[in-house]
Assembly symmetry: C2
């Protein structure tokens, strides 16, 4: 397995330019000569965004990146389904691990953020979401949302002064972010902080702890609603498993272990909690690799 | 129980000034007339930093705040131990829930950040840490680290454009932050992503998931080392319970449930993992309310 180097490559700060992929590879900022993702089952260290996929979206400090596979390099169209393996798996792992990903932009990408010729290293991003979708060409694609480190939070247990002094040395990054809203608080009250999957309540010296899991994610491109019908009250463990698609909810309200393809338990539901089942279906869809175009 | 209002109070943006506590209370930015913390077992909505406690530290976008209780208002010295209840419990809950806390500074506080007279609303902060300590005067105090929202991460599933447009409306905030470093990665490899407390390995479609828990926290004021001797590999649930002090490790390496005062299980340890037991002792100390000055 390749030895991965996460984070900055000394001598190549953000803004560094490269005439071509050979030069880029020699710098080790992005080592493969052709592949858009440098990564595997242990994680992904870098990507190149160069307009090779019609479903890529570039917003500067945020990139919606299409995974690899099934693409005809000549036409740039999808001709087969993508799977969560190789570089795609690497990006998903980098999300789980919180690894920083070097983002390189090529001349073929969005004109607003890409160099006119050659390639340019844009800086460190982190993967904050991944999901499957049907791309423009009708095949399953895997999509990754990356957000620039610069617009990200410094680790909260480092003081701002610590950060400023050693910005390039900070390898640490944020891994799991949990949001809270009045809707989240309502969900937790509804279940008295017990997990709707395992029924456990984590008790701490400061009272019970639970997390609100949005079924259809908030924000672009999912735009799930921040309503009680879109939220579950889960323990952190089941929140991770639900968000990664390891657990899904079937139409009968049963919790399905998608790794072992087994029904685990019934989702606990109170009458006061009007789940929107079309959102549950959306959650199932974004965590499935279809081998036929049947989504 | 008081109805809490978290977040901004309409009409009182950061920078708003108040001649005195009566005017401040009328604005509802900080409702109590005397107490430094507006909060209880459901959470804390605001604090006043005004130099009332000798152990307070103000760094502008970061505040180390001393909890309430045991203070002689005449001399400003501690004369008794503080406990994790009332407003102190409220701030701990606000950390667990990710609630925003309004910070008001009074004329008695640090000169660099405080108004010359009266009081000034500084903006929203979040509580990122709480722990117990022996204060300057020899009694147990509870301390809280608050970081300004402005220096915090926008929720990652909101695009930057969403944030800018509705900054005042964003009630959502970040709740649980997990860091990763090469040391963290090493700890997870050592245990193959199984939790050292429960032995479980969370499996996702992108591979196993675990978290690295620092025993003595990183950063000021703890300054725990980022070394393998200071890290445990835990599942998210046990990470929460360990970080909040619900679980501690005793000198014999047993996991103690401090809520029920019971030994739960032996901590799983491999020979390759040289835990530093003085750091484990530090962790016990910062999560204990001593009723005698025996720390």
């Amino acid at each position: 397995m390749a030895e991965r180097t996460y984070g900055e490559i000394p001598g190549y700060p953000p803004g560094s330019t490269f005439a071509n992929r050979t030069e880029l590879a020699a710098s080790k900022v992005h080592r493969p000569l052709q592949s858009g993702i440098c990564g595997g089952q242990d994680g992904a260290e870098s990507i190149v965004v160069s307009g090779g996929y019609v479903d890529d979206e570039d917003y500067g400090t945020e990139v919606i990146y299409t995974g690899q596979g099934g693409n005809d390099p000549r036409t740039k169209r999808q001709i087969a389904h993508q799977e969560l393996k190789l570089g795609n798996l690497g990006l998903a792992r980098s999300q789980l691990e919180g690894y920083p990903v070097r983002v390189v932009r090529g001349a073929g990408g969005d004109k607003k953020y890409s160099p006119k010729t050659g390639l340019q290293y844009s800086g460190l991003f982190r993967v904050v979401d991944h999901w499957s979708d049907i791309g423009t060409d009708g095949f399953t694609i895997w999509r990754f949302r990356l957000v620039a480190h610069e617009s990200a939070d410094p680790p909260p247990d480092l003081a701002p002064s610590d950060i400023a002094g050693e910005a390039t040395r900070v390898e640490a990054t944020i891994q799991r972010l949990v949001r809270n809203t009045s809707v989240a608080a309502e969900a937790k009250r509804l279940y008295d902080y017990t997990c709707q999957i395992c029924g456990e309540q984590l008790m701490t010296p400061a009272g019970p702890y639970a997390e609100a899991a949005h079924i259809k994610p908030l924000g672009k491109p999912h735009n799930g609603p921040d309503t009680i019908s879109n939220v579950l009250c889960l323990c952190p463990n089941h929140h991770v498993l639900f968000d990664t698609g390891a657990l899904q909810i079937d139409p009968e309200g049963r919790v399905v272990d998608t790794i072992n393809n087994a029904i685990v338990v019934d989702l606990q539901l109170t009458e006061k909690h009007p789940i929107n089942w079309s959102l549950v279906e959306y959650h199932r869809n974004i965590h499935t690799t279809k081998t036929q175009a049947e989504k």
